[in-house]
Each structure stands twice: as C-alpha cells, then as structure tokens.
Symmetry: C2
Subunit: 206 residues, 2 copies
DNA sequence: AGATTGAACGGTTTGTTGATTATTCAGAAA
DNA sequence: TTTCTGAATAATCAACAAACCGTTCAATCT
C-alpha cells in the first residue's frame, strides 16, 4: 500500500501514547512528551492526528477490535444454543469491562473522556455490537431457536437498550459485580421468556 | 395530633424554600434567605430540618407522593388489561419526568443534587415503584394475563432494571422524547413477548 | 425550663493570577 | 515542492486569597 509510510508513523505515535497514557494518565501526558518520544516536534503530530483526543480514540479503537473479535467468538460458538450464546456475550461484556475499569483508573479516565467528548465513538461501538447481535439472532432463527417478532436490527437495539446498565457498569451505577450479574441474569431471563403466556390456545385451535 | 405545631412550621419552611428554589435554584438560595422568609434566624431552621438538603428532600418527597398516586391510578385502571396498564405506567413515567426536567433547569438541578448526595432517597423511590409493579403483577396473575415465571418482587426489579434508561431520561442519555418513546415501546414489547417460542410442543403433548 | 438568636467556625465556592499545554502556522530544512 | 520545526497563540489548569454560606452553639430571651 502507498499509504504505508504514514501508517508506520501513526502506529509509532499510538504506541508512544499508549505507554504514556497507561503510566501517567491521559491528562498528565503532554503532546510535547509524545512527540519527543517519537523524536519529532509537537507540531508534527498534527500531520498524523487531528488532536490529542484522536490519539486516545485510536488506542481505544484498537483495543475494541480485539474485544469485538472475542465477543464474536462467543456469539458464534458451536455446540451452544442461542440462549447460551446471548448469555455468554452479555456476561462476558459485563465482566470484562467491569474488570478493565476496576483494575486501573487510567482506563477509567480514558473511558470517561472519550465517552464525554466523543459520543459518536460510543455510537460506533454500539452499532458494531448491534450487528453482532443481529448475526446471533440470524443464526438463532436459522436453527429455529428464537422467534424474533419483528425486524432483527430493531430487536438488537432493544436488547442493547434493556441491558445498557450492564455495558458500562461503573459509569451508571455503583453496584458490585455480583449484584450486576444477578440483575443481568434476571433481565436476560425476562427478555427471553417474556411475561406473557403466548396464547397457546390459538395455536392449538388452528 | 400533638406534633401539629412543629409540622406547621415545617411546612411553612418547605413552602418558602419551594419558592426560592424554583425562582433562583437550589445552589443560589441560602439558608439565611429561607429563614428570613419565615421570620426566623438561620440557626432555628435546624430545629426543623437536619440540613439544607433535607428541605429539598422534603419538597421532592411531597411531589413524589402525588406522582406515585397518579401512577397507581394508571396501574389499577379498570377496563384495561395488564399489558396496557404496564404500558401506561411506564410511558407516563417517561413523559412526565421528561417534561418536568425539560421545562425548567431548577428541577433538573435539584434532581441532580438529590440523586448525587442522597442515593438512599432514590432507592426509596425505586422501592415504592417496585411495590406498585408488584401490585400490577398480582392483579395480572389474578386475571391470568401474565405468567410470571418467578418471584414477583424480583420480576419487578428486573422490569425496573431493563427500563432504567427511561426513568431519568436526561440524566443518562441525550435522546429526544420521540426516540425514547420508540425505544421504550420496543423494550416493553420484548419484555412481554420474549424472544423464545415458549415450547408449545410440550403443552400439546401433555 | 425550652425556644430562639446570631456570632463564630470550617468547608466550599469564587475570583484572580500565573503557568502549562493543545494547537497553529510562518518559515526553515530536505 | 513537500516535510518538518518551534515559537506564538489561545485556551485550560493550578494555586492561592477572599468571600460566602451551611452548620453549630454559647448566650439571650420568653
């Protein structure tokens, strides 16, 4: 690729920033430091990234790629039914982000900054997860496991909506992980089974 | 009642505070102002309330009493099935809080302060709504409309959990009312119908 | 005695100043 | 020309003082 030259420098910058951010935090590292780590002037960084936040976004995006790959494995795991796969995906999502944000405050800081200043990035992540859910629902339908009553893209949106609370645990509530897990279990159960007896009479009559 | 003397003064204080808070906001009104509105010294306020926040809480509590009464009317409305009543309750909750917080920033400010400094008050409100939901579910079971698969108290908790996002709209998302309504409609549908076909085969076989 | 006051205390907010830092851009280097 | 630099700029942050306000309590009133 012709662009490869710029890309190498870009990833060099990202690596330098990753080290600084995880050592000292986002706010405490300066563009000048990142630049000097890359043996360049501060101004030159701006030929590769529009701004400091975009470097953080690149880091987040990179780590999100791995995350979503992991999630896709769970969503498509063979030998499990759709219910289990949905369960696995939502629980792994809860646990992994909980632990990531719990473990070090640097990650929490970056999550807060990006979440606050770059809502479109958050939307991008949500959209990706939604396509994952749609894939899961498609597969489930193929096997006759779920009966999605409408447009699958919309159902995925609703599943996300109902499980929002568990997606960025410590941003929205101060519950402990066990409590969150218990709640997620219950919500998921409700989502799958529903409240309604599903009018079996009519089916029998037909 | 023997306590009536103190109660009169208490409600006088609450009224004065209500005026100040809604005119100038919570942060911008001082205890001295409230006191002088009641022709008393600042120190004397503390014989009636432990602190400023408790006055705000009293105001919020008062308005919440009205709210919950309104909700109970919807939850118990005759001539409607459980599904409609649940729908009405959740939608009215969304709309009324949305409009209240939308209309004036003072209410939003107080909601933020109380939500931040008095999580136990928020829990108290949630608990009340949960008992309302349990009443609704009880009535539904009595009429054979829902088949709650477990403990009703727990189901109510899960319904709350799945609809959190719609309970304090502008604290958790920046969506417009129509979008929120559309999402709530979808989530509610999912909660009621569920994703699963509900193994009708077994029922027929029995 | 009990009720009430208002000055005093300590924590927070506000306003100000100076330094730091993200970002830009005119020009130097290649 | 294209690539890069580093000083200039403007915005943000940190530190400190002053003012403010919620809260307390010794003294005063009833």
């Amino acid at each position: 690729m012709v662009m490869t030259e710029k890309d190498i420098v870009r990833s060099q910058i990202v690596e330098a920033a990753k080290k600084r951010f995880s050592h000292f935090g986002y706010a405490k590292t300066t563009m000048a430091e990142i630049a000097s780590d890359c043996s360049m002037s501060p101004g030159n960084l701006y030929r590769f990234f529009p701004g400091k936040l975009d470097i953080a976004e690149a880091i987040a995006s990179e780590s999100y790629q791995e995350h979503i790959a992991q999630m896709r494995k769970l969503a498509m795991a063979p030998g499990k039914d759709a219910r289990q796969r949905l369960h696995d995906v939502l629980f792994e999502e809860l646990r992994s982000t909980y632990h990531k944000l719990e473990k070090d405050p640097r990650v929490l800081e970056m999550a807060n900054v990006i979440g606050h200043e770059r809502p479109e990035f958050v939307n991008w992540m949500l959209a990706h997860e939604r396509t994952l859910l749609v894939e899961l629902l498609d597969e489930a339908e193929r096997r006759g496991e779920f009966l999605p009553p409408g447009d699958k893209e919309e159902i995925a949106e609703m599943i996300q909506s109902a499980t929002m609370k568990f997606r960025y645990p410590q941003l929205w509530s101060k519950l402990t992980l066990p409590k969150l897990e218990r709640e997620l279990e219950g919500v998921l159960h409700l989502l799958i089974e529903g409240l309604c007896p599903h009018k079996m009479g009519k089916v029998q009559a037909a």
